[in-house]
Symmetry: C2
DNA sequence: GTCTATAGAGGGATAGAC
DNA sequence: GTCTATCCCTCTATAGAC
């Protein structure tokens, strides 16, 4: 049945996404994905030829999720500074996960950047969406170098995520995000 | 011979340190360390009982290197702001490596933080040394919250390293470090 | 102290019955 | 479209000759 197939495919992608985030891509085995999704190991070679294909599907799903989120943000029709705050609030809401596993985008990209650059390029699609969202906001604010500012704020968020994860320090994340909000506010 | 043994041990630690940085800890195999160090695979179980022990030795070596660097910095007897600049210049000098492999401290800690927290704690020794170096400088400057500022600047550097690595964007690193220098200067 | 050979577990991937 | 059985490879780690 086609419908059943799609369902299983989504289960695999969802389980893999969680595990890749919690354990890292290379540290996650087929066995673990199978156990988490409730499907027998051999089965999902029917859906994905290789582990890399699973990662690509995971990234595609996350790209679509981000795209959907941004589209929803756009419907809110907020002024530029509040648009930037939407991203900052997103990080604030994910604080507990960041304490435990770091940034879902950054840690995956960083892991693959070490020696799997081809796969890493795929993960940059996730970043690019957010970068262009913040760049647009800085542009709307009439800033001189919107692209540089966009990379700057994404870098700030990555740094906050790394330190929060390393020291499992949630208060640090909260005060740093507040500081970023103040910085945005006085632009 | 004891001397020969120590020499081999250092060769292993050096090769492992390079590979852990370039490929990540979990992605580096004994075979690769053996090839890089020129020693046969089985041999270095004489020096290290497990792979984890090699990592600990690698971290110990790096801790000692950082400690030595900081001691040397102290002999320079510079004013606080210039002390902070020593760290910023260090990052600037490592820009090419950061483009290729990210921050040598941060990427290792982040990898192990995912699901090898016991090992990760060991790697925090490297961070703690640098954190206390910058905290001391902020304290000497009479800043209100030196510890928070110390974590802040370390986070900024981590964020810069992550983005530089992801996008292989060296100019980004250079302008961001310059911005940090300006920020330090006007404290 | 140095090296070879190999054990034992677990990884990704495949073949083929149903 | 679903599942079992299994292959082959690489991994860490060990045993034991020299």
């Amino acid at each position: 049945m086609k419908a059943k197939g799609l369902e299983n495919q989504q289960k695999i992608v969802q389980s893999a996404a969680d595990l890749f985030y919690q354990k890292g891509y290379n540290q996650t085995s087929f066995t673990e994905i199978a156990n988490a999704s409730g499907l027998p190991r051999g089965n999902f070679y029917y859906y994905f030829k290789t582990k890399d294909d699973i990662l690509k599907a995971v990234v595609d799903a996350r790209v679509e999720a981000i795209r959907g989120m941004i589209e929803q943000w756009q419907t809110l029709d907020k002024p530029p500074k509040q648009r930037l705050n939407l991203l900052l609030d997103l990080v604030l809401n994910e604080a507990d996960d960041i304490v435990d596993h770091g940034c879902p985008l950054g840690t995956l990209s960083a892991e693959l950047g070490k020696d799997q650059r081809l796969l890493q390029e795929k993960t940059l699609e996730m970043f690019d969406l957010l970068v262009s969202w913040v760049v647009d906001a800085f542009q709307a604010l009439g800033c001189d170098e919107p692209y540089e500012l966009g990379l700057h704020i994404m870098g700030r968020l990555q740094g906050i995520s790394v330190m929060t994860h390393l020291y499992q320090n949630k208060p640090f994340l909260e005060t740093e995000i507040q500081a970023l909000k103040a910085w945005v506010d006085q632009l």
